[in-house]
């Protein structure tokens, strides 16, 4: 089939830690579905059998941030919601990545108005911006492949243990 055909009877092969972690990481990106509005529908569509996000090892959409590597922010982020998004992002373990899906998350989109954050990069480190309103599932999958490429360029030692972020208690929330 795959790997064992290349082994030619040998029972071992050599590689580097970097290559192995990179291979494992990029083929098991577990998304945190931060579906806030209509982009979430396209995000769900990319999980169905037609577009099949499982081809990239990302079918495990976990609804707890503690098991996720990638946050897909899909939808309009208001100032009130931004604190929630950041709080969930802070709970994801390192290393982690962020996709800003759609026009609203990338730039505020058509909501050029007082309650909407004009681009989530004002409070989150965004890796990939996806164009579209909403983007088609193949566009999201393209973003996922770019995240995989980005992970492929990392080394295992790039992600040292960081001190935990300070917990902030939001009053009246």
């Amino acid at each position: 089939m795959g790997l064992e055909a290349r082994l030619n009877g040998d029972s071992f092969f050599t590689t580097t830690v970097d290559a192995l972690t990179e291979w494992a990481r990029k083929n098991s990106v577990w998304p945190m579905p931060m579906g806030i509005s209509c982009c979430a529908i396209e995000m769900m569509a990319s999980g169905d059998p037609k577009y099949d996000i499982a081809r990239f090892g990302s079918e495990v959409m976990r609804f707890t941030p503690r098991q996720c590597d990638l946050m897909i922010v899909a939808g309009t982020v208001t100032y009130k919601m931004s604190h929630v998004v950041r709080k969930i992002y802070d709970q994801m373990p390192d290393p982690k990545w962020v996709i800003a899906m759609g026009a609203c998350t990338s730039s505020g989109g058509m909501y050029r108005s007082y309650p909407v954050v004009q681009g989530i990069d004002q409070f989150l480190p965004v890796d990939i911006y996806v164009a579209g309103c909403p983007p088609r599932p193949d566009n999201l999958l393209n973003a996922l492949m770019q995240i995989q490429d980005k992970i492929g360029r990392t080394k295992a030692r790039d992600f040292q243990d960081k001190p935990l972020p300070e917990l902030t208690v939001i009053q009246n929330n």
Partner: protein, 165 residues
Amino acid sequence: MPLSKELIEQKLNEKFSGESFVFTEHRNELTVSLDKKNIAALCKYLKEEDQLAFKLCEDITAIDWAKRKNRFTVVYHIFSIKQNFRLTLKADVDESDCNIDSVSSVWKTANWHERETFDMYGIHFNNHPDLRRMYMPEEFEYHPLRKDFPLMGIPGSLSLPKNKN
């Protein structure tokens, strides 16, 4: 007996004889302009009078006229399911005396409609049980649907989380 404009006029003038109502009709829908003093009693009467039975409060909102003397108009859209009749009530509120009596004791749903109107226009509803903001954060100081509020908001008035990375 089906409800008509004449019957409502007659009933309101009978019951609130000291009041001056202005009745206008547009596309077969009746609007009553009235003084804000008696709004609670009037709404209670409209709901509980058997022949009127305006039991559904569809919406409460306001209009900001910006430069007019009575700056705001509070608008009530109510509906009588029994009579299949829709009625609009309008009461002027001035900015210097920016409050009106709550009707949340008459219609439960008015509670949230009035909170929204308070949030967006800054009109206070007297005797409201829980007059908090509906949409904007508690610590926000402005009222976004007022005409003098800029579309893109006041810079720095809404907080963002700190970007720690």
